[in-house]
């Protein structure tokens, strides 16, 4: 029995409407309301009675849960599945599945800067036979067969700095940016080049590959603006440029999780903007990044995704979600190239359904096109 037999068929009437809503910010074709993407991952599995571990260990089950539960909350009609360390197994890490967490690294790490010279970029053909790419092929083949209307093949560069740092230990990496910057840069470059080849391998098979790339570890809690630009923004540009050259794209989702209090400015002239780009920032200091500022700074660059604090999604007070979503919607809903309401990062696995309802209710109340 396949996982598809555990789920009722998709509501195609819902899907048709959600598809029109999803298209609207990209083609200036206002539909019923602003779309909501709370970045659901393992919450979808939990909401269907499975575990966080199930979500990551059984990718086909996990991605079906995402497609299924999106109907309940009336979210984007597309499926996605990933964890934050793609390509790291290929570069030497062992990952361990946990009951309450995404897979974590158990090493071995490269503890000396000179060890970075032992790493090499894995080429596209090698990647096609290895773990991460095989996992992506499995889930997208599964979706193509069972939920084809939700298929968007996505390749994850994800957090180029953060995932690279895992290869040497995050503390070591941060230290190296001060003491061994060449080794730190070389490490990020090797990880990025491997991710580019992964995107190319996905595009080879499916004819396209949406790119998701972020700046998570590289944020103002840890790095200066200059360091964020050097290690992260420039490499994000490089990743998208190289991936485009190899046939991936044209959709790009830039995900800036963490505190981007002042470094948010360095991305503006470094990133590549395609006609289907979504730009998202999580926090400014301890607060969510204001959508009004996001619109002022990036509204002419791309479609924007505003943030509601993920902490509120597990806080037993739905109106706090509703009020913050309202504030963000009022600030960003008239962004010239479209706006989507989101969370500041992945919605927590144990997100409360009442909070999700509050998020979507705010979009219905304050995100209706023509009402502003």
């Amino acid at each position: 029995m396949g996982y598809e037999e555990s789920f009722p068929p998709m509501d195609m009437k819902w899907h048709a409407n959600a598809t029109k809503r999803f298209a609207s910010p990209f083609v200036d074709n206002p539909h019923d309301r602003i779309d909501v993407d709370p970045i659901i991952l393992s919450h979808a599995a939990v909401a269907c009675g499975y575990t966080i571990r199930d979500f990551y260990e059984k990718p086909e089950l996990g991605i079906h849960c995402v497609g299924y539960i999106s109907q309940l909350y009336d979210l984007l009609p597309v499926t996605h599945w990933f964890y934050s360390m793609p390509w790291t197994r290929e570069l030497g890490l062992k990952l361990q599945y946990k009951e309450t967490l995404p897979p974590i690294s158990t090493g071995p790490i490269l503890s000396e800067p000179g060890d970075v010279d032992k790493l090499r970029v894995m080429d596209k053909e090698e990647l096609k036979k290895n773990f991460t790419q095989q996992e992506f092929y499995r889930i997208y083949d599964y979706v193509a067969k069972n939920l084809p209307m939700t298929l968007v093949p996505i390749s994850y560069g994800f957090d180029l700095v953060g995932a690279a740092a895992e290869l040497v230990g995050v503390e070591n990496f941060i230290m190296w940016t001060f003491t061994e910057p060449e080794a730190a840069k070389k490490l990020v470059k090797i990880y990025t080049d491997t991710s580019v080849n992964g995107a190319a391998a996905l595009a080879d098979k499916y004819g396209m590959a949406m790119l998701i790339v972020g700046s998570v570890l590289a944020n103002n809690d840890i790095f200066s603006d200059d360091a964020v630009e050097e290690y992260s923004a420039k490499m994000m540009r490089y990743y998208v440029d190289q991936a485009f050259r190899k046939g991936a794209g044209p959709q790009v989702f830039y995900h800036l999780c963490g505190n981007h209090e002042t470094d948010y400015k360095v991305f503006k002239d470094n990133l590549i903007w395609s006609p289907f780009t979504v730009f998202h920032i999580g926090y400014k200091g301890k607060n969510v990044f204001p959508s009004k500022l996001l619109k002022e700074e990036y509204g002419q660059k791309a479609t924007l995704m505003g943030s509601v604090d993920t902490k509120l999604m597990i806080n037993p007070n739905p109106v706090s979600v509703y009020n913050q979503a309202k504030e963000q919607l009022l600030g960003g809903r008239d962004a010239p190239k479209g706006y989507i309401l989101g969370n500041s990062c992945e919605c927590p696995p144990y997100t409360l359904p009442g909070q999700m309802l509050a998020l979507v209710k705010a979009a219905r109340d304050f995100g209706t096109y023509g009402s502003w």
């Binding site: 485009f244 050259r245 794209g249 006609p275 002419q300 660059k301 791309a302």
Partner: protein
């Protein structure tokens, strides 16, 4: 100027739904007005012309003879998006704007399709405002984007 295209190039031109005569027109127009981008390392030339709402590009080299010059066409391609103003110029490129005799940059330009304007990557000349799209972007990224616009607009 004589313009030559190999059978292989003619086959590519046909596969991409273009006409050899249009490609020749692009080259003649570019050479006549000196409106083109030149790769400073290889001498390769990139020229474009909007023909029937499609921007047609010719990628070619010029060989200067004693009496006349010859253009050898390396490739040709097109996109349906309309190029607009420059949004930014981000990093130096190998390209030079022949008209301005100034460096062209990798950057971002406005692109409009089916009435929708968004940004897209391009080679840009900040001096005269001219914009070009390289072959890999036109035939992959923008071609896919045009398909998405058509699907999402439907």
């Amino acid at each position: 100027m004589d313009i030559k295209a190999s059978d292989q190039v003619k086959e590519t031109v046909a596969k991409r739904g273009l006409k050899v005569d249009d490609v020749m027109d692009v080259i003649k127009t570019a050479e006549g007005g000196n409106k083109k981008a030149v790769d400073k390392n290889t001498g390769k030339i990139l020229a474009k012309k909007v023909i029937n709402n499609v921007t047609v590009y010719a990628d070619y080299n010029v060989e200067k003879g004693i009496l006349k010059s010859h253009a050898n066409v390396n490739s040709a391609y097109s996109h349906r998006m309309t190029l607009g103003k420059i949004v930014n110029a981000t990093e130096p490129s190998n390209w030079t704007c022949a008209h301005c005799n100034a460096p062209a940059f990798l950057g971002t330009a406005e692109m409009t399709y089916m009435g929708v304007s968004r940004n897209g990557p391009a080679v840009v000349c900040p001096k005269c405002g001219d914009v070009w799209v390289e072959e890999y972007l036109a035939t992959k990224t923008l071609a896919a984007a045009e398909g998405l616009f058509e699907k999402k607009k439907a």
